[in-house]
Amino acid sequence: MNTAAAVAAPLDAERVRRDFPILAQQVNGHPLIYLDSAASGQRPNAVLRAVERYETHHHSNVHRGVHALSQTATEAFEGARERARRFLNARSRREIVFVRGTTEGINLVAQAFARPRFGPGDEILISGLEHHANIVPWQMVCEQTGCALKVAPIDRRGEVDLERLFGQLTARTRLVAVAHVSNALGTILPVERIVQAAHSCGALVLLDGAQAVPHTAIDVQALGCDFYAFSGHKLYGPTGIGVLFGREELLEEMPPWQGGGDMIRTVSFEKSTYNELPWKFEAGTPNISGAVGLAAAMDYLEGLGIEAVAAHEQRLLALATAELNRIPGLEIIGTAAHKAAVLSFTLRGCHPHDLGTILDSEGVAIRTGHHCAMPVMTFFDIPATARASFGCYNTEADVYALVAALGKAREVFG
């Protein structure tokens, strides 16, 4: 994904594969070829064991009791927060809020940051390639406050038209919310430039990092973004856990989002006072084992080397792009100059759903549909695409299995 990738030691994907027990199975009489990591990554033994160890030896509720287990659970949970801080290179643990996933992170910013501040005349700017999770929360804020949603268009390659985006940045723009990497098209957005331009207009920036975190090292200080949200399960961690990074000054000013236990300091029937950051935003018992698993996933991914993983995936993407381009009637949707290992495509005469079924019968798991990005499908005037996405455990053999299965589809629909 960057120049560092070129010098990283190559990834031994065959060895990596053996870390993921789920991959060693047959599906419909064929070895499983898992090409749906953009929907959800699989978990390595290191994550499975960390969760099991926590559940077997350390579980209790956090931030509560004085007994031994409560203390070990709290240490594990807050240790995971410190791990996430290092993963993002955030300044402080106070900036790391555990959430269910990217979607909840964005909704938190929408309801606790945007809703109390924005009003008629204010604008939120997103791009034309956003996932529904980075569209709908803002539409809700617009309905609640009277502010307006603006959309920077994309071009036929699936790149955000930067000139247009910069042109749409005005003194009315309060927040720019864009994907770091597009889930439907694979496009890597030039987020540093977007952050700079937005800040120079006085707008804040939220980055939807769901698709970026498994492919690139994130440094929120270098990016300069104000909020960054991602999900654990996209980077080989558990589902139901994710992180919202927010700059401390902003989080400090924001009111709590949900009320309940753990987010308070004192409660009386007349008035309650709130806990300090980040617990102010973590009402109720959190997903403790999820956080432990997420920390293990970060250890695992950084152990492989994110640059090495990215370089490996880029090789697979280049191979798959070349191979798929040779198939008559196949069109790749999303041909941006800088892409993560996501390959959306259509095959003439064969609807993506039929493709998905035929590939599945060959043991090849891909995603088909609109990928929670209906406006992207509308832009390209297609109902759906088939999408193959690559992770650290995929190999060249997986690419050739995909190509062979596509040959089968062409046979059926020839």
Binding site: H351, H353, D354, T357, S361, G369, P383, V412, F413
Partner: protein, 147 residues
């Protein structure tokens, strides 16, 4: 799970060359069907003589199963009264959701959809047209009762 059982020749033929395709002029009612999960969309038009479907057309974008199912449906329901059509849908639904059902002879070519039952994720593709037809018939009934 056998692919050939899903994509039988009848299905592939009706996908390539859907019958009764395109808008029906002077239709008494029409309805739009949409499967938001997969993006399939279709419209069904009906014209009625009394309680009988005199003609039925459909148009839409969808996978082979949804297109073929709609095409086969239009052929099967033309000329039938609405009560018969609803019974027919119940039979089709049983066929789609119960593997190893022996299709009733009255299903005719619709029996070609039997392979769908082995692919639970695809059942909704095959039923979209029937839901849409049902909505069109309800609408025409409403139109009749309000006049």
């Amino acid at each position: 799970m056998d692919l050939k059982d899903l994509y039988r020749d009848v299905i592939l033929d009706h996908n390539r060359q859907p019958r009764n395709f395109g808008p029906l002029e002077n239709a008494d009612a029409h309805a739009d069907g949409h499967n938001p999960l997969c993006g399939d969309r279709l419209t069904v038009w009906v014209s009625l003589q009394g309680d009988r479907i005199a003609d039925v057309h459909f148009e839409g974008k969808g996978c082979a199963i949804s297109t073929a199912s709609a095409s086969l449906m239009t052929e099967a329901v033309k000329g039938k009264d609405t009560a018969t059509v609803r019974r027919l849908y119940e039979q089709v639904h049983t066929l789609l959701t119960h593997p190893n059902t022996t299709p009733d002879a009255s299903l005719g070519k619709l029996a070609a959809l039997g392979g769908v039952s082995e692919f639970p994720a695809r059942v909704k593709c095959a039923t979209l047209c029937w839901h849409t037809l049902s909505a069109a018939l309800d609408r025409s009934a409403d139109a009749v009762t309000t006049e």
